[in-house]
């Protein structure tokens, strides 16, 4: 096991930033901490890095308790959101710095810097200062500086958020490939669910200092544990409809045909949640809904409010029984105002736990 986190908590004054986290990260795994800003994901990363000291709990790296160790004694490297390059040093010196501090001999330093720069395609920038290169190039320099000394763990704090959309997409694949080739354990913090989905081996979703769900990207996407995860993952987010048991123990929903189609496993889950006194919802991803002729059996009748053609797909915003929801369809001739039938793929209907209402 590469990283173990146990009961990790951090408070700033009276505010709890991170509440009792437990998770393990395997050797060579790409682990993404995902969540909206202020959810505690960066604080968690900083505690793994040793830049913040936790109030409770412990962090182990390669089995060694490093909870209170200085960052330099943890065998980690980190890429910062604003890159954290040394502005007074050239690109070469920036990449060389971690080796210099660790007293690597000059010829070996030179050789490693050149090799790393070559690998990241910044070999022609070595004489420039960080202020004289572009954002994407700075990002590469900061990656090179992190990689040059071959750390055991690689930490990244929203490394792509300062880049424009197109560059972000390229760098995303590049980082993923680079890290996969090197086989370095990586903890990656982001608020971008697309980044998380596309890069992660496993995702840990955080909200308000709590770890809500940990799992493989598609598992989390397909089986969100709670309303928060269901709506945070996916764009447009999962459609959620309130669900409850009637006095005759029958499951009821405003869109009853969907509730009737719930598979057995999901019904059991609903019963379990109801048994624990928790409220829950019926969830279905917009792409698992399809437009069918009105009054098809098992379909819901809905009116289209507006149509968003995106080229590859089309978002249909509809409502039925005063409940708005979204359908992702292919090319369609459907127009606003039209009444259509909406069918759900029963295999993809989910029972999702509602988040506790804020007190």
């Amino acid at each position: 096991m590469s990283i173990q986190v146990r009961g990790l908590s951090k408070r700033f004054g009276g505010y709890t930033a991170v509440r009792s986290l437990d998770f393990d990260i395997a050797d060579g795994e790409f682990f993404v901490l995902l969540g909206p800003s202020g959810c505690g994901k960066t604080t968690t990363l900083r505690m793994i890095a040793g830049l913040d000291v936790p109030n409770d709990g412990l962090v182990r790296i390669r089995g060694r308790d490093v909870t209170y160790a200085e960052p330099r004694h943890r065998d980690i490297a980190m890429v910062f959101q604003d890159y954290g390059l040394y502005p007074n040093m050239t690109v070469f010196k920036n990449i060389e710095f971690p080796l210099k501090v660790r007293k690597v001999t000059p010829p070996e330093r030179r050789q490693k810097v050149l090799a790393t720069a070559e690998r990241l395609g910044i070999a022609d920038l070595l004489d420039r200062k960080p202020a004289k290169i572009s954002g994407g190039q700075r990002q590469r320099v900061s990656l090179a500086r992190a990689l040059v000394r071959n750390p055991h763990v690689f930490l990244m704090d929203e490394p792509l958020s300062n880049l424009d959309a197109k560059l972000r997409a390229t760098m995303r694949t590049e980082i993923k490939q680079l890290v996969a080739n090197l086989g370095i354990t990586t903890v990656y913090v982001t608020h971008d669910q697309v980044e998380a989905m596309s890069m992660a081996d496993r995702i840990g979703i955080m909200s308000k200092g709590d770890m809500i769900q940990i799992g493989k990207p598609l598992d989390v996407y397909d089986n969100p544990r709670s309303r928060f995860v269901a709506q945070f993952m996916g764009s447009p987010p999962m459609n959620l409809f309130p669900l409850h048991f009637s006095s005759e123990r029958k499951i009821e929903c405003k869109l009853q045909p969907f509730a009737d189609a719930l598979p057995e496993s999901q019904l059991t889950r609903a019963q379990d949640l109801a048994g624990s006194g928790l409220s829950f919802l019926l969830g279905v991803r917009p792409e698992h809904l399809s437009v069918v002729p009105p009054s098809t059996a098992g379909a819901v009748e809905a009116e289209i409010d507006f149509v968003e053609p995106l080229g590859q797909t089309t978002n249909l915003h509809v409502h039925s029984n005063a409940t708005p929801f979204t359908i992702v369809a292919g090319r369609t001739s459907a127009r606003a105002g039209q009444t259509v039938g909406v069918a759900a793929d029963p295999a993809h209907l989910r029972v999702v736990e509602d988040d506790p209402r804020p007190a």
Binding site: G50, L51, P71, R72, M78, L85, Y86, P87, F97, S142
Partner: protein, 282 residues
């Protein structure tokens, strides 16, 4: 179009010319007194007091001779250099480290600590000079360089702390954190990363506190008598019982200005950026 373009070019040239003339006037305004002092320092007593002023005269080194031979200015110069250099280095070292602590660490009540440091400068020197005189005599340090070194260092300290704190706060934290991850401890971060980034600030602060101490007269005159006399005290000898010896005074002014000018010129590269007090971010 052609005409238009030419008229724009002419206008631009006129503007540049006006700017140059104004700049020259400003330089003349500030430089003339200095030039006049330099000129007066090599005039004889008769030429100095001549009216209207004479521009062409027999230059003489009599004033410098009096300064160095009769008034022992050489000893005073050495005293000044010794006292001011040591006190400036002390204030810079202690002050910058204190500034770093106040800028970066969470210390209980650090704002009030910062104010306490500043309060050293709130008391007028004239109020503290008599107690200091008595203390110095009791401790047996009266008329020694060490007394002035401590006083000047303490005087410079608040300025160093307050200005350097702002400069250090301007260094992004992530740069220091990157260095810590790259393998530095706190001291290494401070010495290898933060200090090089605040060199412009260090240069500006150094020049300013050097000048404070170099020109300081009140403490120097009250707390020394012969052994630890500094240059400003010697220069004051130009005020004679019956009149002011302008030639001598000018010679002293020239001798006193030279080290400062040399210091400023050698630090000039950093000063331009430093004197904007971190307003312009690189």
């Amino acid at each position: 179009m052609q005409v238009n373009r030419r008229s724009v070019a002419i206008k631009r040239r006129i503007n540049a010319a006006v700017a140059y003339v104004l700049a020259l006037l400003a330089v003349a305004f500030f430089a003339l007194p200095l030039f006049w002092i330099a000129l007066s320092s090599v005039k004889s007593d008769a030429d100095v007091s001549a009216y209207p002023p004479v521009w062409f005269f027999e230059p003489t080194l009599a004033n410098f001779r009096e300064l160095f031979v009769k008034l022992n200015a050489w000893d005073a110069l050495l005293n000044s250099v010794f006292i001011v250099c040591i006190s400036t280095i002390l204030a810079m070292m202690l002050g910058t480290m204190a500034a770093y602590a106040l800028a970066r660490f969470s210390i209980r009540g650090k704002e009030s600590v910062a104010l306490q440091v500043l309060s050293i400068r709130m008391m007028p020197s004239i109020v503290s000079v008599i107690p200091l005189f008595i203390i110095a005599r009791e401790l047996g340090v009266f008329d020694t360089p060490w007394l002035l070194i401590v006083i000047y260092a303490l005087n410079g300290l608040p300025f160093v702390v307050w200005v350097m704190r702002v400069f250090i706060q301007d260094v992004p934290k992530s740069i220091e954190e990157a260095a810590m991850i790259d393998g530095c401890g706190r001291y290494e971060v401070f010495l290898r990363i933060t200090l090089p980034l605040v060199v412009p600030g260090l240069a500006a602060v150094l020049v300013i506190i050097f000048m404070f101490s170099w020109n300081e007269y009140l403490f120097a005159s009250m707390l020394t008598s012969s052994e630890a006399k500094t240059l400003p005290v010697v220069a004051a000898n130009a005020i004679k019982p019956k009149a002011i010896a302008w030639g001598l005074s000018s010679a002293a002014a020239v001798v006193m200005s030279l080290p400062v000018i040399i210091l400023v010129l050698s630090a000039q590269r950093y000063l331009v950026r430093g004197l904007t007090l971190g307003a312009v971010k690189g």
